[in-house]
């Protein structure tokens, strides 16, 4: 039995249409028009215990609606949703006890007071035993390096520091399931790495199931064994990153660094089986299909014509893969 089982989830919202102009506004005083927005259109998926899943999709695709339903905040119009054997919205308090949620843009900490006060308040809210709380707190402080942050009022923390504290706060009650909504948004590089490391370790050592909603492809690449892409209320693609990449393209990249003084005009023509995608300073990026020409062939071809300083073979950037996927799925 998977930890999360979702079948044919449907959710529609009613939105009132505001009318433009003075006449429209006065008309609006009397009668309002409504339109129906389909947020989820028969969404189905299953997630096993201990998985680290990335949930991708353009804005408005239905990601936050799904997360809200899974966390028990929202009730779908129809469909089945079982999380850890419960229907989230029907058994809110029991369900929520085992779930942690981190919103990248909204902190759950009490703004004007030191971080530790928020933690202690959460301890009382979740009715944690003092020993369990102490043990978990120590672990969080250790792995997230919070020891010199605990006495600082939350409003004085930097975004990176606050995010680490929010992560700790969401895990004090040792949930089996963690939802991360844009956790690295706006963070500096060091903080991003810290957050990613932490989430990876959490998943590996504690077996916490993690559902990561993000636009940051580096997050996805670093963390997710599995990815789901949602668009216009439907799950459009599922699988590992590699599967997804292969679905969109088998293409690979060859990046060649040349001597900057060397004339570049003819380089594109020396590799007819590869396409010159772009220049980056003195580096040429080529794209090729490995089933038609091997990297070795390309390398020997180009090194025969040009003095090469450095070269690299890699997959196309995941950003491109995803945007191409959106494009193909007409999102």
């Amino acid at each position: 039995m998977p930890q999360i089982l979702v079948e044919d989830l449907v959710k529609t919202f009613r939105v009132s249409k505001r009318q433009i102009g003075l006449w429209g506004a006065l008309k609006g005083l009397v009668a309002r028009e409504h339109i129906f927005v389909s947020a989820l259109d028969r969404v189905s998926f299953a997630i096993g215990e201990g998985e680290l899943v990335g949930y991708l999709g353009p804005n408005g695709a239905g990601k936050s609606t799904t997360v809200k339903i899974l966390s028990g905040i929202l009730v779908p119009d129809s469909g089945i949703c079982q999380v850890m054997g419960r229907t989230p919205w029907q058994e809110r308090i029991d369900h929520v006890r085992h779930v942690g949620v981190v919103f990248g843009q909204r902190s759950q900490l009490w703004w004007d007071l030191p971080v530790i006060d928020s933690f202690e308040l959460l301890r009382d809210i979740y009715r944690l035993s003092p020993t369990a709380y102490q043990a978990t707190l120590e672990e969080m402080v250790d792995t997230l390096q919070l020891s010199n942050l605990l006495e600082i009022p939350v409003r004085q923390l930097s975004l990176g520091q606050r995010m680490r504290c929010d992560l700790a706060a969401s895990l004090l009650h040792r949930p089996q399931l963690l939802f991360l909504d844009e956790p690295t948004i706006g963070l500096d590089a060091v903080s991003k790495l810290a957050v990613r490391e932490f989430v990876k370790k959490l998943n590996q050592e504690h077996g916490t199931t993690v559902i990561l909603t993000t636009h940051d492809m580096d997050d996805v690449e670093a963390l997710c064994s599995r990815v789901m892409v949602i668009g216009r209320g439907r799950i459009l693609a599922q699988g590992s990153l590699r599967d997804l990449r292969d679905q969109v393209t088998r293409e690979r990249r060859l990046i060649v660094e040349l001597d900057p003084d060397y004339p570049r005009e003819y380089i594109a023509e020396t590799l007819p089986q590869a396409k010159l995608v772009k220049w980056e300073g003195s580096r040429a990026h080529f794209s090729f299909d490995p089933t038609e020409v091997t990297p070795a062939e390309l390398i020997s071809e180009i090194s025969g014509h040009f003095p090469i300083r450095d070269l690299l073979v890699e997959n196309p950037p995941i950003d491109e893969v995803i945007s191409r996927l959106y494009g193909e799925l007409q999102l």
Binding site: R18, L22, G28
Partner: protein, 268 residues
């Protein structure tokens, strides 16, 4: 800045208020209820005594309705956008522009008071003039009373916006500003006549109350509309309103200059 811009601000604000139709209705209903309670209490008090009073019950009732109708004009709060500008420190950028900041804020205050007043005043006037039974209604004024009321209302608008601007400017001093924002509305409410009509305060206090700037906000126009004040007194009262307006504008400009210098020195 030119009038086209301010017309646009009024229009946009009006549109915004009309969009939130439920809010508009709720606001009018709330004010109507408050007015009604005050009117009933006043009636009960008047029935308790037979001595002559500075104003008749009918005038007092009319006064209350006028206060409710023109509530939008009271300097109840500062301009939220300006406050946000000051709090964020971005007000320093305004200094880079070759515009007179005081005038800008003042004109803005006028535009932002006119829109909600229009929206609420019209229904409240209609109800209190024509819908309510005569014992609780606002009496229709004579033409001369109406004419001087219009003048007094313009005076009240100018005065009210000068006070609003002072509230905005006081925000440049964080702590005192917050204090003023909290205290001034209460002071304004009582001394403008919104709590009870000023003529009903003890006789010995009348001269003092009339000389305070706040009387010009509600008391002066209301007394002219209801006829409690004779129309040919308009010049005296209008002069009081305008003198206070001038004093408050001059003081406001001086404070603004000092306040901005402070912002620049402290780095916002």
């Amino acid at each position: 800045m030119n009038t086209k811009v301010y017309r646009a601000i009024i229009r946009l604000r009006f549109l915004l208020l009309v969009q939130y139709r439920a809010a508009a209705l709720a606001g009018i209903s709330t004010q109507f209820m408050f007015g009604f309670v005050k009117v009933m209490v006043l009636e009960a008090f008047y029935l308790s005594s037979t001595t002559a009073q500075p104003m008749s019950l009918q005038q007092a009732i009319g006064y209350v309705w006028l206060g409710q109708a023109m509530l939008g004009m009271l300097p109840w709060n500062g301009d939220a956008d300006i406050q946000a500008l000051i709090r964020s420190g971005n007000v320093a950028y305004e200094l880079c522009r070759p515009l007179d900041l005081y005038n800008q804020w003042y004109a803005r205050a006028i535009a932002l008071r006119v829109a909600p007043t229009l929206l609420r005043a019209v229904p409240l006037f209609l109800i209190s003039l024509f819908v309510l039974p005569s014992r609780y209604s606002l009496s229709v004024p004579t033409l001369s009373s109406l004419a001087v009321w219009i003048l007094a209302t313009i005076g009240a608008l100018l005065l009210g916006c000068a006070i609003t601007n002072l509230m905005n400017i006081s925000m440049l001093w964080t702590i005192s500003g917050e204090g003023i924002i909290r205290l001034l509305p209460a002071v304004v409410t009582v001394f403008s006549g919104m709590t009870i009509p000023l003529p009903l305060f003890p006789n010995w206090s009348h001269k003092i109350l009339e000389l305070l700037p706040f009387a010009g906000l509600v008391d002066t126009p209301a007394r002219f509309f209801t006829g409690q004040l004779d129309p040919n007194q308009i010049w005296l009262f209008l002069a009081r309103q305008l003198i206070w307006t001038a004093i408050l504008i001059i003081w406001g400009r001086w404070l603004l200059a000092r306040g901005l210098r402070r912002v620049v020195v402290q780095g916002g």
